[in-house]
């Protein structure tokens, strides 16, 4: 364990993750929503690893289960959503959270009580969240200072005054001008960019090892977006944090991520280092996604390629591979019958497609106990 911690401090962000034990290992995660109309399999067998200091980008269309995946990791899935299967192994980096860890130094977050003390000691302290809408994520009736001090004092035994000083320091670090005055401001008195910076300051306040950024730039305008992204990149390097970056914007992924997880309808389609995903995508879905990005080199006055069809309704999921109705490489009798399992396609990439491997899930689908 000790040498492991030593490793983290010497980790560089672009390291090769293969010879390092991970910080987070999500294994066959399934998060289902039991509704009156039926079961929505928001996350259906997602696996990926996050290594210390690594930026993992999760990319996919709206409704593909990105947000539910990270809410499952934080164990804040709103009811009736439930983590029904799978493991979320996390290796705590702080003395205070060691107690919960097992023999290999990891904790299965999926097994913890979402409201219990152990899980709460992870949130904010080990794993912090940067939400999608900073405006709505700050309470409008409490000052920024109040909410930052609260975040600090939840996990660190410091006085209010010390916490206030720490908060001001954090705000200064993320580039909030005159942070002392901002402490008494309300979120709605600040600009979108500043709000997101204050939110980042709050997320960093307890020195988390893993930062989860849930589309942190969608709610702010493009010029501020670039600033926030470069700020995140700088902070990630100086704090040596791992980041799970969620977005539907492939441009942002290219700029931020070391490693990419491509999701579709609650399942992982392809994973691999960012370079490989962008330069030699394997899965037909990844290929189609990349083709639909406009470039400056493309001929003018031509139609931008789009993915045919639309995302199926959650209650009307196709059997077999979820992507087959829209897939250009659809193989009748295979793709619509069996569900592929993610398999390595080369030493760096893995894909869930029958083009590369025959591996399929058992025909008997996983049944959920209908319990409310």
């Amino acid at each position: 364990m000790t040498d492991y911690r030593l490793l983290i401090t010497t980790t560089i962000s672009n390291m090769n993750p293969d010879n390092q034990s991970p910080l987070l290992a999500v294994n066959n995660l399934k998060t289902y929503f039991q509704l009156d109309e039926g079961v929505v399999k928001a996350v259906d067998g997602v696996s990926f690893d996050v290594h210390p200091g690594q930026v993992v980008g999760i990319v996919g269309e709206s409704g593909c289960g990105k947000s539910v995946t990270i809410k499952s990791i934080l164990r804040i899935v709103p009811p009736p959503g439930k983590v029904v299967e799978g493991e979320i192994r996390y290796w705590p980096q702080k003395q205070a959270t060691y107690e919960a860890s097992g023999f290999d130094g990891s904790v299965d977050l999926a097994k913890l009580d979402p409201r219990g003390k152990e899980m709460r000691s992870m949130r904010g302290s080990e794993i912090a969240l940067i939400p999608q809408e900073p405006m709505a994520s700050f309470s409008p009736v409490h000052t920024i200072g109040n909410q930052l001090i609260e975040a600090i004092r939840l996990h660190q035994k410091v006085s209010k005054k010390e916490a206030a000083e720490m908060a001001i320091e954090r705000m200064h670090e993320v580039g909030v001008p005159s942070p002392e005055q901002r402490m008494n401001a309300y979120s709605w008195e600040m600009s979108g960019g500043l709000r997101q910076r204050a939110m980042i300051a709050m997320a960093l306040s307890c020195n988390p090892s893993l930062l989860i950024a849930d589309e942190p730039t969608t709610a702010i305008d493009v010029t501020t977006q670039a600033q926030v992204l470069s700020l995140l990149k700088r902070l990630q390097e100086s704090h040596n944090m791992a980041i799970i970056f969620i977005t539907h914007d492939l441009g942002v992924i290219a700029q931020m991520a070391d490693y990419v997880v491509v999701m579709y309808l609650g399942r992982v389609m392809e994973t691999g280092p960012a370079d490989e995903i962008f330069h030699s995508p394997q899965h037909p879905y990844t290929k189609a996604l990349l083709e639909s990005i406009p470039t400056v080199h493309s001929a003018s006055r031509t139609f931008l390629p789009t993915i045919a069809g639309s995302i199926p309704h959650p209650f009307n999921r196709p059997p077999g591979c979820p992507y087959f109705p829209r897939c250009v490489d659809y193989m009748p009798g295979v793709c619509d019958q069996l569900t592929p399992i993610i398999q390595p396609v080369n030493p760096k990439q893995a894909a869930s497609c029958f083009l590369f491997s025959d591996a399929a899930e058992d025909v008997e689908p996983a049944t959920v106990k209908s319990k409310r």
């Binding site: 709460r120 994520s137 409008p140 009736v141």
Partner: protein, 328 residues
């Protein structure tokens, strides 16, 4: 904040003036006046007055003057702190309603605080434990509370008290204390009578408020700031009380403005049923007898209470919500 309060206080006399005009007009609206209803009363008991007597009576009360003149005379006296003399009771109005007003306000405030103290926790529990047994229990309780008229509850309570314990629960004082001067014993006696009307009035108030609180809180519980508080690692109850409850209280606080006068006027029927010495029954009687000065004074006092209620709710709102503070 102080600016807001000063502004509202300056508005008070203007509002009172407008209300006084309207209440005077409304009270004068029914055909006839006090003398007509007095004559009718005399006629029903077999005696009568001649025209000279009637005219003399009218001129003593100023009823023969035009409406504007009557109003100016009335409002002028009120500005000098004199509420006038009740035509019906032949007593100064101040003396007549003094104690009743105190008892009414006391009944109203006790009802108000009790219903808030019950409704807010009930609303919170129902919202947080949505669609559980606890929620269903309170939902049924609330529907009964809203749907049952308070006078009905009062009648049932009277009947139960009489048939089970053989006691009569009407009035606010035992017979030996009704006209006694104030003392600790009289106050104690008041309290032993006060709890039942308070409870009856609280039932519907609590139900209404708890429904509002539950709905408000349900709206707030799904807001991103609640999720964010959870992601920070706050404990569930701590975060619920600090964030969504605080925001869900806002719309509830703004109901104080109309809730206070509602308690005062809403208690009228219950007070009549239970024979309480409060202002409500007196207003009813003054209106049926066209005792315009008494009715006018009472309506004006109700208006004042409504304005005070609104003022209190505005101040509380500004204190609770910085967004409102900034606007003003």
């Amino acid at each position: 904040m102080t600016q807001l309060i000063v502004k509202r206080l300056l508005l008070l006399p203007v509002l009172l003036f407008i209300f006084s005009v309207f209440s005077f007009i409304i009270i004068q609206a029914p055909p006839g006046d006090f003398v007509t209803s007095y004559i009718a009363e005399l006629a029903s008991s077999g005696s009568s007055m001649d025209q000279a007597q009637i005219d003399a009576l009218r001129s003593t009360y100023g009823l023969d003057q035009p409406l504007t003149g009557q109003y100016l005379k009335w409002i002028g006296r009120i500005l000098r702190g004199d509420l006038g003399v009740s035509l019906d009771w032949q007593k100064p109005i101040g003396e007549l309603i003094g104690e009743r007003l105190g008892l009414t306000v006391m009944l109203g405030l006790l009802t108000f605080f009790l219903s808030w103290a019950l409704a807010v926790p009930i609303g919170i529990i129902s919202a947080v434990k949505k669609y559980t047994l606890v929620d269903y229990f309170f939902t049924i309780f609330n529907y009964i509370g809203i749907a049952t008229p308070t006078f009905m509850v009062a009648l049932i309570a009277m009947w139960l008290a009489f048939s089970w314990f053989g006691v009569s629960v009407t009035g606010l004082f035992s017979s030996e204390y009704v006209d006694a001067p104030w003392s600790l014993a009289r106050f104690g006696d008041l309290m032993t009578h006060m709890w039942l009307p308070v409870l009856i009035l609280t039932l519907s108030g609590t139900a209404r408020l708890a429904r509002i609180m539950r709905a408000n809180l349900l709206d707030e519980l799904n807001k991103p700031y609640v999720e964010m508080a959870r992601a920070k690692g706050m404990s569930e109850w701590h975060l619920i009380i600090k964030y969504p409850v605080r925001l869900a209280l806002n719309p509830l606080v703004s109901t104080i403005g109309w809730y206070l006068p509602l308690i005062f006027s809403g208690s009228l029927v219950v007070a009549t049923v239970l024979n309480l010495p409060t202002i409500g029954p007196m207003l009813l009687r003054s209106l049926t007898n066209q005792d315009m000065f008494l009715a006018g004074a009472i309506v004006l006092i109700y208006c004042l209470l409504a304005i005070i209620g609104t003022l209190v709710s505005d101040i509380l709102l500004a204190w609770l919500d910085p967004r409102i503070r900034m606007e003003s």
